[in-house]
């Protein structure tokens, strides 16, 4: 195939293209198994295959994709004609930042590719989980396995040749019950990074059974708990909530395409302006955030992005000050031009596409908060006068420029005078992004730090779902509005 792709790319260049790349997916396999109250309601496998061509001509992008390998020439031509048509409404010719031309490969770490494991192992696992979750107080029990295994071959007209074998596994268990008011409450567990592998070997009963027991116990505590008070207090976010806080109010607003207005017609913009880099006090001095695509064993690590740029680890927020963004080749050039100075030195290597029939966009890699020096969870609780510990993402809603947010949680307990008090139900909190991060008053140490995975980050038009990670410690924020 390689020869054929090169020939087609050369043909586009001869026809006047300035740049082109092709991503060929010989296979993009998926598996989805769901067991709900003892019934395997979904047992599905999928295979997508095809190719997508991106062409830069007359200063504009054109893209075309097909699942029909018999129509390669027609699809390449379509991409070029789409670029030419797009160029008829052009305000700023696209220029790509320089990159090192690379050949290489990347494979997600996994001993056992979930798609290759005997299916009866997986059915057996779901049955065991279902049995473990069938306890008093539980009206609905759900366990599922979602996995992907794909091969991506990338070629561009600058000479890059990259092959990636991406393997993902996102299992989870969940229980739901009804409280005294007839309202549903739920608790779930999807594992953070476990060890060094993305493979099926993480599905060990001895790990999962205690977690099943825990979520049932915590659900039952919530079912009989009083309602969360409506007041202002410190919130202590556990990693299974902190990751989403970071995702929605640091990750998304720092995507450079959002900052430059490329998502205004759908996902939204960002309150961040180009003039903020190097000066905006995003959070308190305790806040240090990085985009780390080199973090071992995470869906936010992928070797090379879909611009063919090598994965990197760099700071976004240093001691509370905004210093960099989530960037691609196209956007860094445009940002520097629009700012009239060099803010970004090169692409951060974050352009990724979700499928062969979608185009690469700025995507979070592993947007992680560095561990701090405020000790363990117990230490943070002990130093909190009036607070609430929040765990488990139940709902989320964020302003279109990511300037404010509302989150609700599955599990919460109050803290008074440094002591753990009662569990409460229907906990939620809301706030404005910048004041919130500037109220960051405690950052947990390494013992509290976990890498949480996001299997379903939505963005773009046509829309795309991407997988990524967040390494986060327990964090405390003060003076936050709490309640339903």
């Amino acid at each position: 195939m390689a020869y054929q792709w090169k020939e087609q790319l050369d043909r586009l260049m001869k026809a006047g293209a300035a740049y082109a790349d092709v991503r060929h997916y010989p296979k993009d396999d998926s598996l989805f198994m769901v067991m709900l109250n003892g019934n395997m309601l979904s047992f599905e496998q999928g295979r997508e295959s095809g190719f997508g061509v991106r062409v830069l001509a007359d200063g504009a992008w054109g893209f075309a994709a097909s699942s029909n390998m018999a129509d390669i020439t027609g699809t390449f031509d379509k991409a070029l004609s789409n670029a030419r048509a797009a160029a008829k409404r052009l305000t700023r010719p696209i220029r790509l930042a320089d990159k090192e031309v690379l050949s290489g490969s990347f494979t997600s770490p996994a001993d056992l590719d979930t798609l290759s494991v005997q299916r009866d192992f997986q059915a057996d696992f779901l049955q065991k989980m279902d049995k473990a979750l069938a306890q008093k107080g539980v009206s609905q029990r759900i366990s599922y396995i979602s996995a992907q295994s794909k091969t991506i071959e990338y070629y561009d007209t600058e000479g890059a040749k990259i092959v990636k074998h991406i393997r993902e596994l996102f299992p989870a268990i969940m229980v739901r019950g009804k409280d005294a008011d007839g309202e549903a409450q739920e608790r779930k567990y999807s594992p953070p990074r476990l060890g060094k592998t993305r493979g099926y070997e993480i599905m060990k009963e001895e790990h999962w059974l205690p977690e099943a027991e825990r979520i049932v116990r915590e659900l039952n505590q919530t079912l009989t708990a009083p309602r969360c008070p409506h007041d202002v207090r410190s919130v202590i976010l556990m990693p299974d909530q902190m990751f989403l806080q970071v995702h929605e109010t640091i990750g998304h607003p720092l995507e450079l395409d959002r900052i430059l207005g490329y998502e205004l017609s759908y996902a939204g913009g960002s309150f961040v302006r180009l003039s903020d880099f190097g000066s905006l006090q995003y959070g308190s001095k305790k806040l240090n955030v990085r985009a780390d695509a080199l973090l071992e064993n995470s869906p936010g690590s992928f070797g090379y992005d879909d611009d063919g740029v090598k994965a990197q680890n760099y700071m976004l927020i240093k001691d509370g000050v905004l210093v960099n963004a989530i960037t691609s080749r196209q956007m860094v050039t445009e940002a520097n031009e629009r700012a009239g100075k060099q803010i970004f030195t090169s692409s951060g290597g974050t352009a990724r596409a979700t499928a062969f029939y979608r185009t690469p966009l700025e995507r979070m890699t592993n947007i992680s908060v560095d561990p701090g020096t405020d000790g363990t969870l117990q230490d943070i609780i002990a130093s909190t006068e009036k607070g609430i510990v929040l765990s488990g993402d139940k709902s989320w809603s964020i302003g279109s420029n990511r300037e404010q947010f509302h989150f609700a949680n599955d599990y919460a307990y109050l803290v008074e005078d440094g002591q753990v008090k009662e569990v409460v139900r229907n906990a939620a909190y809301s706030g404005d992004t910048l004041p919130f991060y500037n109220s960051l008053s405690a950052v947990g140490d390494e013992s509290t730090w976990q890498v949480q995975y996001v299997p379903n980050c939505g963005k773009g038009m046509p829309s795309q779902v991407m997988q990524l990670g967040h390494g986060v410690p327990v964090c405390r924020f003060d003076n936050v509005k709490v309640g339903e």
Partner: protein, 462 residues
Amino acid sequence: MQIKQAVEQLKALRAYAISKNVRATLSLHREDSHLVRLANSGVSLNTSEALTRVSVTAYADKKTAGVQVMCDLADKETLLEAVDKASEMLQYASPLNYSPTFPVIDESSEDRAGYDEGLAHISNEDILAYINTAAEGLENEDIKLSGNFSVGSTLSINLSTATEHTVVWQATDAQITLVLSSLQDKWEINAEQSAARLSDLDPKAMRKRLSFLRDKYLTCEAQQLPLGPCRVVFGAAATAEYLSLLCYLGVDGGMMKRDNSINLKEDIGKQRLSEKVSLIEDPACLDTFAIPADNHGRRRKKKAWYDKGVFTGFIWTQDAADEHGETATGHDVAHLSYSLLPGDQKVNELEELSALAKEGDLLYVPYLHYTGVVNATEGLITGTSRFGALMFKQDGSIVVPYNVRFTEKLGDLFGEKLRWLSSETTVYNTSSTYDARNPEALAVPKLMCCDDVKVEISNKSY
């Protein structure tokens, strides 16, 4: 794609499944999609996707398993493998505690009334001409155009090994969003359109709305609204968002059984919402891309699920009915083409709201951004205003409010808080482009007015 040829190829696949003693449903989904994306007043992306998906679901007693492949229909090897694989997977599927109904299609049907050749083959040039007309004279150094012009056609074919009959549906659709935004101030306004045929495209209507809002955003005072209750007039996008959630959390029997519904079985026949609310499904409405026959070949009928606020019953898909011992209602279909019937308030356009504000300030919220279900059984929904909110003041002035957040219950908004519904309806396109193309739209009153909607967060700037 030639429909006749595709049906023949699927029938050949059916014959193969029968020869292997596999009981299965076979379905084809073909999309030809084209999307022009705009940002910073230029075309930022121009994409075409031609994708064919074939799904095989194998059935055994108390078991099912499915395989979906994306390939060309000429790729026989992949298609036959899909049948073999689905059959092989059955042995690993855990048995259900009920028997799933195997689809038996009693008669063939072909519904193509929603397919328009002109819209299916709209050119790049015509799309650009539409955009240029809609935005004519509205952009400048600070005000930039963004948007999406998503257009395409969808073909679905369903059959099973039980009979030779096929269910064919084909439609064209376009979903257009244009946004004007200020680089400096960060305000954003939009206009949207849904089209089922080429003649539905009306760029001048888009321009009229953008121009009206742009004028207000440039000339009226901008303000942070106080927290607390206010009278809100929701536009079609916001109403459609709440209505989608009402359909999702209110009418689906399977959701009720999962403790995920605002209604219980004992609520059937009860007055659950305002008398002003009649929610119907209309399988003949081409504007909402209705699919007249479900995947089992059952012809759908027009029906009210809330009749003047009275909840009339749950929808049961075949799977949910089988699992819970209910009778399927014939709704195994991608979407249900719902309509919220209009009311009696003869106020249908933005320009008419000023006069109405004499009775009290009106906050116009056209669109809700990023709604979240805070509590499913309570129907508690949170979301933020976006894209052109206006405050029509009692004194006749208009103020541009910064965005606000509401967290409200569906039962209240469509219940005691509902003040009036417009006398005219419009179609709001709710399609998403996340997965396979599946056009979807709701018919909603142009405006919906609710009292006592609480502003919970009020932004300090755009």
